[in-house]
């Protein structure tokens, strides 16, 4: 019997589950083997709800599940046609608002944005392409910052810091000119491990670690055979 002490009861897609008090809907779902997609949210960092991919419906209202804590008796819709189509449209918007040429991208096969497109069966974005002109910054000795693929999720800003807590990545400009850039001064002495971690923590191919590319053959990469989220859904 599951120990339900200190837990609260919620319903997710009609199924009753028990959630830790104080956990967010994303966490509660994960702990019960249910996947809610996330992009900007990254374990270990405060959720900021900027991508909206984790949207669910609570009492007929759309809410972000990475920032909403569970409360007793909550009824949540997650895996419905309406919500999945909304999520798919967010992925499509991200594709057309950047320049995503997957065949030339080192992250292909391991990219979370692409994996979500596969999961939601995107064959073509429904929105017009914008083909914005964006620059590639390869001036850093360790890292290529490929602005064409940045989805401005902030995961690099939130998770990549030096020992004194200083951020390696930062926002630059505003509105449609907003960019995430690598600090040229701090970045000049970036330790190897941190540069690799920055590539790993980025959900797309916007941060590339220099020196070695295309390591895994097609067919063996993370999302080649299993959809993103299946690691959560398949846990027993």
């Amino acid at each position: 019997m599951e120990n339900t002490e200190n837990k609260i009861k919620i319903t997710l897609d009609g199924k009753t589950i028990y959630a830790r008090k104080g956990s967010t809907i994303v966490e509660a779902a994960r702990e019960n083997g249910i996947y809610i997609p996330t992009l900007c949210h990254f374990e270990g960092a405060d959720p900021k709800a900027c991508c909206r991919i984790c949207t669910v419906k609570i009492n007929n209202r759309f809410m972000t599940s990475c920032t909403t804590p569970v409360s007793e008796g909550m009824e949540i819709e997650n895996n419905t046609e309406e919500i999945n189509d909304l999520r798919k449209s967010i992925v499509e918007l991200l594709f057309v608002s950047g320049n995503h040429f997957c065949p030339t991208c080192e992250k292909s096969g391991n990219c979370e944005l692409q994996a979500l497109a596969y999961r939601f069966k995107m064959l073509v974005p429904r929105f017009p392409f914008s083909f914005p002109r964006k620059e590639v910054d390869a001036s850093n000795p360790k890292i290529v910052k490929e602005q064409n693929r940045c989805i401005l999720c902030k995961r690099c800003i939130k998770t990549i810091r030096d020992e004194e807590g200083r951020h390696y990545f930062a926002y630059k400009n505003r509105g449609q000119h907003l960019e995430v850039v690598l600090d040229p001064v701090l970045g000049a002495d970036m330790p190897d491990e941190l540069a690799k971690k920055a590539m790993e923590n980025c959900p797309t191919g916007s941060i590339l670690y220099k020196g070695k590319g295309f390591e895994q053959p097609i067919g063996t990469r993370k999302y080649d055979n299993q959809p993103i989220g299946s690691e959560i859904e398949n846990q027993s």
Partner: protein
Amino acid sequence: MNKKVIATTSLAGCFGCHMSLLDIDERILDLIELVEFNKSPIDDIKKFTKPVDIGIIEGGCCNSENVEILKYFRENCKILVSLGECAIMGGLPAMRNGISVEECLNEAYLNGPTVQENHEKIIPNDEELPIILDRVYTCHEVVKIDYFLPGCPPRADLIWNALYALVTENPMELPYEVVKFD
């Protein structure tokens, strides 16, 4: 059963999608039982000789000739399929989108590191040459497209599954492993 008529073309593509079509290997014998090819680089028929059921387009539109051919396909085919990354998203050719045509031509014919012996600094301008478009357009930006099969190139199994479904008028099943963007 009457054989379905198929046509194919390569616009701004590299022929990789056509190669992938040939990668269906021995299933091509099954295919040929079910279909007849009309205008296609495979049989080198230049003009449609009859109405076509399924037109398969590889590549997007980078010049005026690509647009003409695409429209010609739309007029003559009941169903049009965008096959592969270039047809659907512009692919490699579209990496020039966002850079001006002038800059591209200068790089290709005058300033590029591999340019040799163009002493008169000529940028090809014969009137027989198709006109380069301001940017590369995906096929569905130019005409209505009915189906999209991604991949660079699309997996042979994806092409086979989809073609077989279209030809036999069954629903398309696109398993996770075969729908990929690279």
